[in-house]
Symmetry: C2
Subunit: 112 residues, 2 copies
């Protein structure tokens, strides 16, 4: 998978595809392709790293636990979302057609 | 400019547009839009930070000074390029129509 738009699924798959594009000290870049996957009921991501996601194709809906309560976030192509470390969130829905194409950046939680 | 694909030029502009999408300790993310700009003759970028660029639209040609000599790199949509700190490089050409849309990540040069 040399090209971000290469080797995309042509239909639903059983799980998300995650390809690491770059893994360096201080930064990891992943391509994630979802075809309808969502987080299991009651599951929340709670990550030690900071994350920033950019949706490039498809559509997704997330729930994010903000300091003042839960927030529904809908992402369309070109939309991005910052998820500071331990900002609990879950994926409610992702599009199948077209597949949901994410670029996800992860970097260490150090100083703010 | 909330959306990566929003507010794109509709024709040539006098200079590149650079919008900072995220600026945190350890990571900066920029959207760069080029419409035919290239580096001036004899100019080389020589940056203290590591960089990773992803071309999302348009086309570009760069010259990169690799340890074993100069290399011409042509980027099409979905192509990416890692530019470690002080890896000298220059932009030879960028497309006008469509505008060349880059996502550029910068992170500190620390340990390899």
């Amino acid at each position: 998978m040399d090209n971000l738009f290469g080797d995309l699924p042509t239909g639903p798959e059983t799980r998300e595809r995650i390809d690491c594009l770059l893994d360096r000290t201080g930064l990891r870049v992943e391509r994630i392709v979802s075809t309808g996957q969502a987080s299991p009921p009651g599951f929340w991501y709670d990550q030690a790293e900071h994350e920033w996601v950019l949706l490039l194709q498809g559509a997704a809906q997330l729930t994010v636990q903000m300091p003042d309560g839960e927030r529904t976030v809908r992402l369309a192509p070109g939309d991005s979302l910052e998820l500071p470390a331990h900002r609990r969130h879950r994926i409610e829905a992702t599009s199948v057609e077209p597949p949901t194409l994410w670029l996800a950046l992860f970097w260490p939680a150090g100083a703010a």
